[in-house]
Amino acid sequence: MSKYMTFESQSFPNRELLLDALAECGFASPTQGSNLPLKGWDKKNPQTADIVIGRGDVMGQSLLGDVGFKKTAQGYVAIIDDMDLEYRLGKDFVVRLQNSYHEASARKMAKKLGGTLIKERVGKTIKIRVKF
């Protein structure tokens, strides 16, 4: 082997891959724009984001607030109401999104390098090999 790197951040650097990951998690058509206001948030604490999932578009149930992703220097960061995370989306929502994002990254690298992809799941670990 020649190089080893670990990625743990809960920010998502690539917009296209974030959209792929959201689609895989069931949110295929989020609204995209710039500084879009998020509905359902306290007026004393208004939030804006660049990718928005409407609060009525989630698994047939209504969330307290829209889910947003705001662009920062490190990438897109999720803006989610604590109560929605706890009782509707599930506490592990961002981790599930990270997993989908990482899988989408592997697919993108395989395409970019003209390689083949082999995916294997062992318990709670997913191993993906991109050979090129």
Binding site: S2, K3, P13, V95, Q98, V130
Partner: protein, 64 residues
């Protein structure tokens, strides 16, 4: 055959990557592409293979 191995811990969202079978600057180029999609790594280390240099043989002339 060079490869990139992704190991995703589905409980924590942590992703480890290993670039195998590429040396030197070609490896660094692949690492740069990985950083573009995955962001800044929390761990980033070169392994022994990274430092292997292509072998060259010096031609030794005869004094006779």
């Amino acid at each position: 055959m060079p490869e990139i191995e992704f190991t995703i811990d589905t409980e924590t969202g942590k992703c480890e990557t290993e670039i195998k079978g590429i040396q030197g600057s070609a490896c660094e180029q692949t690492a740069r592409q990985l950083r573009q999609v995955l962001g800044s790594p929390t761990t980033d280390r070169k392994t022994a293979e990274f430092h292997i240099k292509p072998q060259s043989k010096r031609r030794v002339g005869s004094n006779e």
